[in-house]
Amino acid sequence: MSQYVLRRLLIAIPSLLGISAVLFFVLALAPGDPFSELATNPNVPPEVQAALRARFGLDDPIYLRYLHWLFAMAHGDWGFSFVSRMDVDRLILQRLPATLYVIGSAQVLALLIAIPVGVYAATKPYSLFDQIANTLAFIGFSLPTFFTGLLFILIFSVTLDWLPFVYTTDIKATGIHYVLEMIRQAIMPVAVLGLFQAASMTRFVRSAMLDVIRLDYVTTARAKGLGQAKVIVKHVMRNAMIPVVTLIALQMPAVFGGALVTEQIFRIPGIGSLLISSILSNDTPVVMAVTFVFACLVVLFNLIADVLYGWLDPRISLR
């Protein structure tokens, strides 16, 4: 198993390098020059400009610049945000917990909905429950997160006035009230993201369960006289979860997209809203770094899925 994990880790490295290369070359190909402001400034003589360009290596061949950049990133030198007046890595570390908190709780909520609903729907295919669940799931993933977010605000904040629609980090209360307030303000963003996730997950779970439930070994288990609950949970679910794990991992880029939108709607100070505000204020180092962090998170979750996959299906880690 540890060998399998190690192999997966080694496979993740080339894909991280590939992603970083894609990001860097996109940035390098983009029109616009960090020194364009200097070039139009009459007070800076051309020799100084040339010296500065040479000093920062802007005239080097592109692969050298990429290696320089990669080396700097690996050393934790992520640049400086001129808008926030602080180092980019510190800025991101400050914002990351809020994003992970919302995404993590949303995933848990999605699993808590999707697994029971999907499993129950698969045990009674084409029943009334199955049809209702299916239709709701279909509607759920056709509703874009920005619209559900606005609908939730309209219903729960504006009309009913139950929940706050702006997320704050400086809650005045202390102790238990602080915790309660933290939970209360996270309900809507987590629900928006979690329900969206739950919709597609329910479909994955249902179809994976249906694939497994017809297999012979399930009939054998029933013939041995095992109860329905035991057959479903111990025999069918464990095998049905294997493809579901992969499908959930493949969904991660979409989850981050949804999180970005949710953060923007509810003004959660996470890295998603940081990305938007840096784009609006032309803060290129932050834009670059946040995109890279998102890419790293996707690779990380793929890695976790691979490890889970190996644990659920030992045949894979032996190969």
Binding site: G32, P144, F147, P253, A254, L260, V261, F294
Partner: protein
Amino acid sequence: MAGLTLASPSAERGVYSPWRETWRRYSRHKLAVVSAVLLLVLILAVVFGPFIWRVKINDIDIVAGLQGPSLTHPFGTDDLGQDILARMIYGGRISLAVGLAAMLVSVFIGTLIGALAGMSRGALGHGLMWLTDLFLSLPALPLLLMLIYLFRDALKAMFGPEGGIFILIVLVIGGLRWMPVARLVRAQFLSIREKEFVEAARALGASPVRQVVKHILPNALGPVIIAGTIDVAAAIIAESTLSFLGLGFPPDTPTWGRLLFDAKDFLDIGPHWALFPGGAIFIAVVAINFIGDGLRDALDARRVI
């Protein structure tokens, strides 16, 4: 077509037409039929709407600002008193056009890469599949935002504010969504290229290009059509998301997402402003997804209903 293998009940019925068989299977999916009608109505409305509803999209009338639905303004007005119905008709054209064009881009790239990977037996196929997997693990929305941030001004200078953004958004959305199509096409190619009828064509001396175009591709189209349909919905959502974040089309172009972006600060006094465009996005997307579901029933050969 992949879905047109003879199913025994239809063969006994005498007159057999592949298209009729497809339609028979499609029409079993009631929601898909309803969705097709709904989408058709929506398309007709945005194409011919401006000829019937002749209110200008930028007629400002501050006095009539933020009014709810009424006879003069069926969908109400925004904060400047502009007619929301007229703006939605205009924006719907853009949203649907972006969806279609981005789908064409992604299907084209996906089919090309999938076909190349499916036909090659060497390093090229492996390399292309590695590229596909790499693209699959790119965070699409952040990257989309970054690309638009970087290339917006250059394209605006070349093609004008609306045209430039249109080209950029279509290329970027299409360019980040071709991977599922490529995987599907490759899988189809790998199995179809070993079938007897392709072998027969090869034995008769058909060149690889002819084998692909005349024999393999037509048989691999079913899944591509389904994936393409769902891509339209995904592209519409992607475009609306960009506009909703304020980073899509320029502020004076009222796409559905942009209308929501403008409306979100007026939810307490003018909820109609957000509900109509949001509802339109939802209806378009859910209809297209149901059509995709119906097409899956109709074109999937393995399923005999």
